[in-house]
């Protein structure tokens, strides 16, 4: 069984007339150690999916398994829930609203403290993750004086200290400036490439999604596209129809094609785009 397994999962908000389906009969499996980006416009159900995956919400229908444990169960014991949250960490959108302590290292220690880890071991872990996240110099600072990107790295460190095997970034870059986004993306790269952590990155920024192994596009509560970044972003029209964008070079090729130039569609890499245009020009001259 894959690390995360959703089987025919549905979820609706509200009651009676106002009932609104957010996720509809969604089936999905995510393998251990992969980096998946979940794209979708606001209201596409992507944040609901994140909440379902760590049992903040319980599905109305269907089953969800994480690392073999059935988490879509109303009677999940408190200990199981704690174990799930230890294993699957969440980084949220607003960097200010997820830090609990007035000192960075105290905040990082919060998770392990809740798990009842021995003080000396907590100290060791805190020092270690601060170093990995490159924020050791701010260990004694107050989080309020850090930049958005730094705050998000503190949040990641706080989860890393619980030794998770999966991390979900729920629009964690949406409120950041370009510098902060870059910091978070580098962090994700580190978690995935060097530490082998399963990463699920929920975003509406396609450039960030490009860095993933796999891109899932949610639209109206169902999976509209699922594949490698290349496969997904070559669906230029489908993406635009869903209120999403594709990166500019891909868009240019698509527009040129629409204007009657028979270029290869569906190229996502900048260099490959340049080569394709050059190839076409060279072909003309001969």
């Amino acid at each position: 069984m894959a690390f995360i397994e959703c089987k025919d999962v549905s979820f609706s908000y509200g009651e009676g007339e106002n009932r609104k389906a957010a996720v509809k009969h969604l089936s999905l499996s995510i393998e251990k150690g992969t980096f998946t980006a979940v794209l979708g416009h606001n209201g596409s159900g992507k944040s609901t999916l994140a909440k379902l995956l760590c049992s903040i919400l319980l599905p109305d229908e269907g089953e969800i398994f994480v690392d073999g444990m059935k988490i879509s169960d109303e009677n999940l014991s408190e200990d199981d829930l704690i174990e799930l949250h230890r294993k699957v960490g969440m980084v949220f959108q607003n960097p200010d609203n997820q830090l609990v302590a007035t000192v960075v290292e105290e905040d990082v220690a919060f998770g392990p403290e809740n798990l009842g880890v021995e003080p000396a071991e907590i100290r060791r872990r805190v020092d270690e993750v601060l170093k990995i996240m490159d924020i050791s110099e701010y260990a004694r600072h107050s989080p309020t004086r850090l930049s958005g990107g730094q705050k998000q790295r503190v949040a990641v460190a706080g989860i890393l200290a619980m030794r998770p095997s999966c991390m979900i970034f729920d629009e964690a870059t949406a409120m950041l400036d370009p510098q902060g986004r870059k910091e978070v993306m580098e962090t994700i790269g580190k978690l995935h490439d060097e530490m082998g952590i399963t990463v699920i990155h929920i975003t509406h920024n396609m450039e960030e999604a490009l860095e993933a192994d796999r891109v899932i596009v949610l639209n109206d509560g169902v999976i509209a596209l699922d594949g490698t970044p290349h496969e997904v972003f070559s669906e230029t029209e489908a993406m635009q129809r869903m209120g999403l964008d594709v990166q500019q070079p891909t868009k240019l090729l698509h527009e040129l094609r629409l204007a009657g130039v028979p270029l290869d569609d569906g190229i996502t890499d900048l260099d490959a785009c340049a080569r394709e245009i050059c190839r076409f020009c060279a072909g003309k001259k001969q």
């Binding site: 949250h85 949220f92 609203n97 830090l99 609990v100 000192v103 220690a109 392990p112 809740n114 009842g116």
Partner: protein, 286 residues
Amino acid sequence: MLKDITLGQFFPGNSLLHRLDPRTKILCSILLIVAVFLAKSALAYGVLILLTAALIIISQIPAGTVFKALKPLIVIIIITAFFNMFFTGGEEENVLADFRIWFLHPVIRVEGIVSAVKMALRIVLLILQTSVVLTYTTSPIDMTDGIERLLSPLAKIRVPVHTFAMMMSLALRFIPTLIEETDKIISAQKSRGADFSSGNVIRRVKALVPVLIPLLLSSFRRADDLALAMECRCYRGGTGRTRMKIMKMTAKDFLFILFCALFIAVRFLPMISSSALGITGMNFSF
């Protein structure tokens, strides 16, 4: 504007007072408060003044900064002294001045002046000691930790000590964030022509509605986000929770407590409490 309050502020440093266990400092503050209230003789006051001066020097905090703590309370000190001056009873032959204003008949006696000076001195000593020993040299988080651990025996009789301490430290964490947010909302509403400084009281209070409502809503939103983030970081109250920082009372802590306790003991040593000036036995009350 909201940022200029020094009373209750923490000044980082590395003096003996900074390094003491917060529990020691809380206990000693209590002891010193008791000592101030028990002091009756001029000699006792003299000793307490010397002690306070010594504490200020040990704390390595500039005297100017320390005395700033008195600024917001100066009116209270003056009013207290004023009332003590007129409303302390005493012997007729000690009358220094006798006013007749309309039907009032205030009289100043020697006792009144002595009492006013003592009262003012008391308040000043209380503020200086508690701010130097406790608030200036103890970070807010150490303080809450100290309070939590001192009160921890009460948890056995179901007093929610941990919840209380967690609430306090979260409040400390979010105060700067909310101050910043308030400033931002005020600026935004001013840009829409809000006028906070003219008109009568009712108009001014009404002018605050556009600030208070967004502030309240945002606080609720933050509280929601925070609760979710804490749950995801395996928080389930105080049970089974460990702490990274181990608080350990060392020899210097015990010595300091012993030293402070001596000042109360002094009260009971007859040779010191019997006054050289012969103004014992007077009762003062707040």
